[in-house]
Amino acid sequence: MTLAIFITLAVLSVITALLVVLSKNPVHSVLYLIVTFFIIAAQYIMLNAQFLAVVHLIVYAGAIMVLFLFVLMLLNLNEDTEPQKSSAWKISAAITSGMLFLTLIGALKGSTIALLGAPNPQVGLVRNLGAVLFKDFVVPFEIAGILFLAAMVGAVMVGKRDLAM
């Protein structure tokens, strides 16, 4: 049953990811990507990474994709203004990514995966993650905060219409 749910979700997300790449209209691409992110959140829930699933939904589906959709509609991009690459370029891109995929699969096929720890269903819960985040990863956490501040200031400065002194 779990395997069936996993495979269904995986196939659905691969289809929507392909639709993101293949659909002509950029607004459709964004909407399909939101669906893909929802399916990936469902995969996180299946892995019992509940906090991760909620954060993923809030950050990606809630913030980043709204930003993408907003910019897309602000710039008024649609199917007519969408630039297209030549079909020769598309075929070579398909061959390149297919070869990358074959290389990855080939590398993974011969390897054996030795998991160093025992599976623990409690690992994705808020209590456990918070303890690890604020004990072992305090410094990276603070640096991430500084990165956010810098990104916010940078985005505001870049987006300003003119820097009138």
């Binding site: 990811a17 993101v20 954060v55 993408f68 910019v71 897309l72 398909a94 994705g124 990104a151």
Partner: protein
């Protein structure tokens, strides 16, 4: 013992994430709209995130999921700055076509 750890082998997650990552690479190579290229980069980051979370659960180690948080932080910062730059480019060139932006090559 989690149900999914017993029934779904970790190799399936490896295959699944590889497929998603390669779709992202395909999108970056095949699209010319810079916004779609950024979206495909998000897709690639998500493939990696999913694999990190899967290994974290299968190994019972929370550090993988912490790493996913930091990747999300970087992705959010990247999206904000990238879209800011993109709006600026659009204001100057009236286009989001990335092949328009090869002026630095010469």
């Amino acid at each position: 013992m989690l149900e999914i750890v017993r029934t779904v082998p970790i190799e399936y997650y490896l295959l699944y994430s590889s497929i998603l990552f390669c779709i992202g690479v395909f999108g970056v190579l095949t699209r010319r709209n810079a916004i779609i290229v950024l979206m495909c980069i998000e897709l690639m980051l998500n493939a990696v995130n999913l694999l990190l979370a899967a290994f974290s659960t299968y190994m019972g180690d929370a550090q993988g999921q912490i790493m996913v948080f930091f990747i999300m932080v970087v992705a959010a910062a990247e999206a904000a700055v990238g879209l800011g730059i993109l709006v600026m480019i659009y204001r100057n060139t009236k286009s989001t076509d990335i092949s328009f932006l090869d002026k630095l090559r010469n």
